[in-house]
Structures are given as C-alpha cells and as structure tokens.
Symmetry: D2
Subunit: 304 residues, 4 copies
Amino acid sequence: MSFEDLIRDIYQNIQQLEDRGETASYIPELSRIDPSNFGVHISTIHGDQFGIGNCYDKFSIQSISKVLSLILAYRILDHKIWDRVGVEPSGTAFNSLFQLEADQGVPRNPFLNAGAIVVSDILLSHLKHPKADFIDFVRTISNNTTIDYSSRIAQSEKEVGYRNVALCNYIKSFGQINNEPSDVLDFYYDLCSLEMSTKDLSELFLFLAHDGRDIASNKRILNERQSKRINALMQTCGFYDESGEFAFKVGLPGKSGVGGGIIAIHPDQYSIAVWSPKLNKKGNSYKGMKFLEAFTTRSELSLF
Amino acid sequence: MSFEDLIRDIYQNIQQLEDRGETASYIPELSRIDPSNFGVHISTIHGDQFGIGNCYDKFSIQSISKVLSLILAYRILDHKIWDRVGVEPSGTAFNSLFQLEADQGVPRNPFLNAGAIVVSDILLSHLKHPKADFIDFVRTISNNTTIDYSSRIAQSEKEVGYRNVALCNYIKSFGQINNEPSDVLDFYYDLCSLEMSTKDLSELFLFLAHDGRDIASNKRILNERQSKRINALMQTCGFYDESGEFAFKVGLPGKSGVGGGIIAIHPDQYSIAVWSPKLNKKGNSYKGMKFLEAFTTRSELSLF
Amino acid sequence: MSFEDLIRDIYQNIQQLEDRGETASYIPELSRIDPSNFGVHISTIHGDQFGIGNCYDKFSIQSISKVLSLILAYRILDHKIWDRVGVEPSGTAFNSLFQLEADQGVPRNPFLNAGAIVVSDILLSHLKHPKADFIDFVRTISNNTTIDYSSRIAQSEKEVGYRNVALCNYIKSFGQINNEPSDVLDFYYDLCSLEMSTKDLSELFLFLAHDGRDIASNKRILNERQSKRINALMQTCGFYDESGEFAFKVGLPGKSGVGGGIIAIHPDQYSIAVWSPKLNKKGNSYKGMKFLEAFTTRSELSLF
Amino acid sequence: MSFEDLIRDIYQNIQQLEDRGETASYIPELSRIDPSNFGVHISTIHGDQFGIGNCYDKFSIQSISKVLSLILAYRILDHKIWDRVGVEPSGTAFNSLFQLEADQGVPRNPFLNAGAIVVSDILLSHLKHPKADFIDFVRTISNNTTIDYSSRIAQSEKEVGYRNVALCNYIKSFGQINNEPSDVLDFYYDLCSLEMSTKDLSELFLFLAHDGRDIASNKRILNERQSKRINALMQTCGFYDESGEFAFKVGLPGKSGVGGGIIAIHPDQYSIAVWSPKLNKKGNSYKGMKFLEAFTTRSELSLF
C-alpha cells in the first residue's frame, strides 16, 4: 500500500475512534479550539507530499517550538550549549523543581519548560532583535513566510504562567539565567505561540530526516552531528513523561505540544506531522499518538 | 571500508587511548579483573562474524543480564508485565527510592536495579526451577551451552548488597514483591553473575536485530512487537544516567554492565558487543563507549 | 480543683467522646487489643500519684521505647551520639528515605524509625548482652521488675517489617550501621515490644521532670544537660508529623507510640501517661491527645 | 547573681570570643553593617529592664518580622489561618519547594519564607492600607512610634529576590495566593525591612510572656490560646534548620533573623533580644546563640 493509501486508511479508522482525550484547559485560548480538528501531513526526502483532513489549518504548536529555539541556539553556541542544559530524560515532570535544586539550576534537558526557558535566555543574549530574528530564522529554513507568532496566545499563556515565572526565577537564583526573568519569559511565550499547519510542520522539520540539510537547496541548517543530536534528544525526551512509551509505540524521534500537534522524524525517509487537539493524560494528542502508532506499525518503518 | 577493517582500525586507535575510567570497586570480585582487557565482537543478520582482542574471554555481564531476565518474563506475562514495572527513563539514579515512594513500589523501568528485582520476583513465581530454567533459556536461545553463572561473583555481590536489600524490602512493603526478599535477591545475584564473552553476547542478542527471530532456525524468541519494545527500552533506559548521551553518541539501543561490557543492536543489521573493564563516571565502560561512538559515526549507521 | 479531680473530670468527658481513631493495623498483634481500653496515670516530683481507668494494664509501648534506648545510648556515648543521629525535626515521614540520601545515612533525629535503628546499632555494639542489659537498665531506673519484652509482639512486628529492613540496609549502605542489619532489627523489635502500664510509664519517666535524677534515691540517671536535651527532643520531634500540633495543644515534651500510649513530661512538676489504642490520622492516640490537651489547658500548666 | 550581673558577665565573655560567623552577604545592604555590633536587652513581666552594648541601635530585624505579620493575620483570621499555612517544622530548607509540591501550595509553617509570603498575601487581602496599617499595628502594640520600615533594605532585598519570586509564583500556581505576586512580594520586603533595637524588640515581644496581654495596660493583643500557639511555633520552627538545636541549647521559644537579631521568650518571665550581625552556618547569629545558651544555662531558666 502506498503512503497515501495507508495514511488515508488509518486516518479514517482513527477519525471514527471515540476521542478519550481532553483539550488543554490551562491556557484559556487553547481551550477554545474546535476539538474535532484532525489533520495529518507527510513530506519525504524524495519530494513526495501528502496531507489529509485539517492539514492546512494553522494551530498553536506550543512545545514543538522548543525544538526550533534549541536548533537556533545550537547553531550559535554549538556544543557549549550543553553547559547550560542537559541531554538526559527527566523522569517525572513532578520532579522538575527538585531536579533544578540538585543540579544547581541546570535543567535536565531542553524540552522541559525549565530547559526551554534557559534556551530562550541564550537566544535573548545572542540575537540583536530576538523576536524578529527568530521568526526570520524559522521562515528562512522553511521557505515559508506565512509562519507567525500569535500575540493572543502568548498573552493568554502569560496571564496564567505562574509556574513558569517560578521556574525562571528559581533558575536565575542559581545564576543560570543572564537576562531579566520577565524579558526571558515574554520571549518564551512568543516562541510557544508560533502557529503552523501540519503541512508547514512536516516541511519545516524535513531537514532533520536529511542529516541537517535543506532538501531543495541542499544548504546546511545543522551539521550532521548536530542533526543527529536533535533527533536523539527528541527520541529520549520529546514526550514528557511518555517518551519511553512513544519510543516503543511509534519508534521515531518526535516532539509534541499541548496544542495537540506532534512532529515525528524518520531519518533518511520522511517527516510527518499530526494535529488533533484533545490530549491524553500525559499531555500528548490522543488521536495523534494513535495515528502515529498505527502508521509506523503498518508501514513497518519504526526504527526498532 | 569493510566492517572488519573499520573495527580493526578503531580498535587500534582506542587501544592507544589513555583509559580514564576506573574499575568498578563496589563488588570486590570485579575489582580484581585485569583492566587492560579489551574485546569487540560483531554478528550480522547476514551471518557475518568478526571479533578482535579479548573477544573470546568470558567476563561478568552484570546488568546486561537484566535484558535477558526481562525477555523471559516478557514471554511469560506478555504486556501484563507493565503492571509491575514501567517503561519510562528514570532521571537520576539518585531518585530511585524516592520514585518508588511516589509510584507506590512500581519501578520506573526494568533496567533500574529496582525494576530488575521485580522482574526476578516475577520469574521466581513462574519458573519451576528458577535458576536452572533461566540458564536453560539463555543457553537455548543462544545455542551456547558454555554460558553459566559465577557463584563467586554472585556471592561477592551479595556480601555488599545492602542497597539492593533496601530496594527489595521497600518494594515488598508496597506489596509489589510476592516472594521472600532474600529469595528474590539470591536469584537476582545469580542472574547478574552470568559470564559471557563478547562473541557470546553478540550472537545471543542478534535476534533483537531480526524482529525477535533466531537467525539460524528462524524460530521466534519474541514476537515482533515485543522485540521492538525491548529495543525501545534499551534506547531510552539502557545506560543509567547516560542514556541520552548514548542515544546521541552511539545512536543505537543497547545495555551496559558494571563489568565493563556493552551490547548494542542495530535493527535489521547487526549486534555488537564490547568489553573493557574501566568505567566512566556514569558507570559505563570508558573505552566501550568510545569504541561504539567511533564505530557508528564512521560506519554512518546510527539510527539518527 | 486538685489534679485528681481534674483528671477524673476530664477522663469522664473524654470517655464519652466518640472515638474517631483507628487501631494500628499494620502490626497484626496490636490490632487485637480491645480498643475501649483507656487509662491515665500521673506521678509528681512531690511523690503524689494518681491513676484512673485501665491505668494498671500493661500494653505495648512501641515507639515510646525509643526514648529509653536513646537514654541508655546517650549515657554510653554522651554527646558523641550526635555524630550518628541528628536532633532536628524531620518534616514529613514521607521524606524519610529521601532525607537519608541527602544526609548520607545520618537520620534526622532518634525518634524516627531510622534514628531508633541507629540507636539500636549503637547499643548492640556497646552492650555485652544487649537484650538482657537493656531490660536490666529499664528495670533498675524504674525500680520495677515487672517490665518485660513481649516476644509475641516482637515477632509480629518482625513478620511485616519490610520497611524497617529497607531503612536499616539503606543506612548500612552508607556505612552508618556497624552490626549485621538482621541483628540490629531483631534487637530493635525487642525494644519496641516493651510492655508497661501507664503507671509504670509515668513512674519510669519522672526523672526527666527532675533534671535527670531519680526521685526516691536522688541518683543521677542522666546529667542535667542530657536530661534537658531529651526533653527538648521530645518537644520538637516526639509526635511524628504532629509534633508542632502537640507543642501547641499540649505544650509539653512527650512521646507517643502506635500502641496508643503517650508519655508527657512537665519539667519540675510531673510526668503523665495516657493509653487509648485508637489512633488519629497522624498515628497518635486519639483520646490520649484529647485528654492531654484538656489537662494542660485546664491546669494552665502548658510550658507556653 | 542578678539578671543584670549575669547578663553583664556573659556579655563580656562572649564579647571576647572569636566570632566564627559570617555577615549575611546575599542582601547587599546587610553586608555593610559593622560586624562588631553586639547588643542585648531584657524586659521582664515585673517591669524590669536591662540593656548592654549596642542595645539601643536599630538594625534590620528581617525574619523576626514574620512573627509580627503572623500575629496580625492571626488576629484577623483566628484559627482559619491554619487552612493557608501549616504548624509543623519543615525539616531542611533544602526541601522547601519540594514540600510545596507535596502539600499543594500550603507551606509547612509561617516562618519559612513560603509561609511568610502567604501571611503577607492574607494581610494584603484584609488591610485597607497594608503598609500603613501594619506599621500602625506594630507601633500601637509596642507603644513605640520610632519603629519604621527601611525602604533602602526593602529595595536591596527585592533586587536579589529571585528565590522569593519563584516561591510566591509557585504557590500562586496552586491557587494559594490571592493577590498579584509582585504586590505580595513588595509588601513582604517591606515587612522584612523593619528596623528596631534590641530594646524595642524585647519590649515589643514581652506580651508573649504574659499570655498575650500588654504589661502596662493589660490590654489583650492575642487571646491566651493564640499566644500559646505563637510560642509553640517559635519553639518548634523559629530557627530554620537549627530549631531542634536551639530548643536544646536555649530551651525557649524564639525567632532569629539574618540581620543577626534573635528574640526569645520565657513565658511568665521575660523576653530577651540579642543582636550580633555575624551568622553561623545555619543562618543564626553566632554570638547571639552563644549568649542565649549561656544565659538560660546559668540562670537555670530553660523550659526543659
């Protein structure tokens, strides 16, 4: 069965499933999204593309943006970035403040909120016009000028972001944040507010399936070693407290966001994005996880 | 360059490196091993084999045996095993007792000592002659009757095993151990005392590169789904506090032991075992890690 | 109102209260005690004595014995004992194993199980015939040869003592237990199995209201400094997770046990013991706490 | 020996001691204080007063103000205050954020920073003009109009208060702070910036030695039950991680501040204040602790 047929078939099966997830409620703006949205889009390194459902509708990618900010910071600092943030899975979310105490303000990995806040601090220190420079970077590597922030989402998250204020100031108290916490967080909320469609996402992340090079132009976005590191990090830390489960069920490096989006990479093959707003108990898209599990199982393209 | 030439070349380079590791000292018997031992052996699903250095010398595989006991328990309970032990990386070792409290005696994954103790308890409940049945299982799936326990090593570990006694009794206090703690631990020490060479290891684990089937006979040892799960677990949890680092540097599922051995699997390609007794600060073989990093980088066969 | 009238009056009031507590269930033998038992006994430094209810019935004093073993160890090591066990309240019980990790096997105070296990280890190292010597000590300082261990209770607690085995071996793994864990625990269970009546208790502990001297003979059991330290420890750490509440409601140094007994000391005045088997949610005698609160409030003899 | 002679004698002895403490450095303004300051002042319920050394010099009382804000909040909410903050000692400071997680944003006691921040939030909700009303309250109960805030100290602490911002926002994330975190903290820093002399302190706190009534006017500041509760809290929680040690060495309820001040209460007798800026490793005045230990030992007026 071709990728297209397979995706179409699985999409229809999952579409009919009772959705046992819940829309993220802690960010007010996110809870207003129509929960019946469901889109899938794949891009392969051979130039094939296929999308279905709400694959062209833009949504809030939330934590998926942590991969993008990490990539830009990684380009700037190269391996020195690992002095500021670790590369190991974190165990429970529950431990996050506790872990910061034990490790003196160095977050365990860049996909925890704590880690992404440190990455935001790094960008703030190195970019002239952080907000403009970052969106330029994302648009450039994706050849996609339609990608933008949502100030409405950023504002909505900021208004309830007490836990993030706590994290950022706690890290600052260990001397591991260089800028003013409020500036770091404002930028962090901007980063999390990026809106894209599954099509945008699968095209944007395809270079990670291609050893760090853009497909069309063959230009390097990351060197091979860096690209491998990002994939390894997505494999071990991309799904919060469900990273081990995802490695088994889907078997690909990936990253999810509480907006209901997931991006997954099959090195040397493709990148695939799914979107369905209702989340399982671990905070990952309920239908998105089901779709990807069925897709890698039936395509026999898990890494394992 | 062929696998053979590549392995030979890397072996010689690493051989000359200053070994910055330290032999495991907490188990007295292990500290007596000649630290200059260094062996490598690869087995491919196409039937190729190549070994170098001390590749035929048997050594204590220690925690690598946790994969074998898990496999046997998985065959017995199938997915019901995940009621007793989790599948998520653990964060720091440092948290282990604390995590057990939070999760009411369910260890986070089967490669933590706590998790392997629970797996030992499962085997003790389901096998008629646990010690004999387990070694039979290992010999059968490896077609290798030379594999055996070392009672000397088991005894040496038992004598200093206070932390393991603590773990086992703590889990028992939550009702998550069914047998007598001392029986569970005696069996656990037997399991950890298995001795094999890198050749034995690479041959034994090759079925995990072959979707769970033995190469020669094509007989199923695990079904495809189970085989994928074991590989995913080795990818996310196989190297203690250095699992994220290993996923990046080596990019393969694997498991290490404090005896200085490491097994790594490249699905659909090969299994490779290395042995060098001196350990880095995270408890993984210093030269073994260096070797595997160079091997997957130069062979361009990382999963990422 | 005289002490006698006051005690009689409060006793009758509390007797009529609905007992919202639960008998300790984790030690099977303890759960068989008649929950309607209720006894009170006071002894003053002026030689007055008064008891009511089941004040002459012996019961399992459990953790109250931790004060007695500490006193004997304190006599032996004097202030050097504080190298082995701390003097600070512990926060939640919930943290106990975690705290041991942070403090490298030194328990926060001698009234935690972990601390009492270390005290047992000290006694085991310094007494020729630990079990006989300890009971001799208790009988001598109390002039009471009827006090004895209950092997039935000791055995019953041992059979379910997995958490204590975990604690003792965990401490041993930090090198802070010198004897064999199983020997330490056997002795620990003996200590906890002491049986006394409220009369025995109030007489035995009266010397702590008298700066460490026996009332009748004026002989020193502890020096003044040591006696003050024991009282201070009972004030800050004597009631598990309810020490702050007890300091407020009762306002006296004291110690409770899961057998439903409580001893409280009013320096320079009296010692008072109560017994009622049903425990509140924090593990302290429900009626015992109510009685003592009423008694110190109405006698206006709280320290604060 | 009279109180005066005793205080004079001990003062001279301690004055000559090498001061092994260190001035608090984390608040820049505090580190500028002359470390040789040393003052003591006692006030008794019989109207006697005696001071020595720098007993009339005002200094930053810092955490001692946590008792005053608690008293005012306690007058407003009475026992309902314990729904918002606990009464148990905390174990290590080290645990504070962790404990908040376990207890869903309810700090363990009101003398932890977390607890005092919650008390500030309560006052902010109930006072019309919080800053003015609070200082009025303090001046009224002490009949002392010279007591005031130091805006310089408040500002200095605010500038480095990242840990407090973290605490306040973390508690807010559990819904346990009702006002804006920045408003709560501004008020909290004002409270901590109170300046008094040891004479001011001993006079102000004397009512706690008098069951809650002002000595001169006999007016109630707290009812007897409330006064007892405050004393019990100071006994069990007043000295951070050294509360157990203080209960033993000094044997009185008390509270210290990082400005080097300590207040201690002997119920039905006196209140005594000491000030010496250099702190021991636990953050309590080095000479202050030494003085009080000698004073209660030689006056034989410890509670135990």
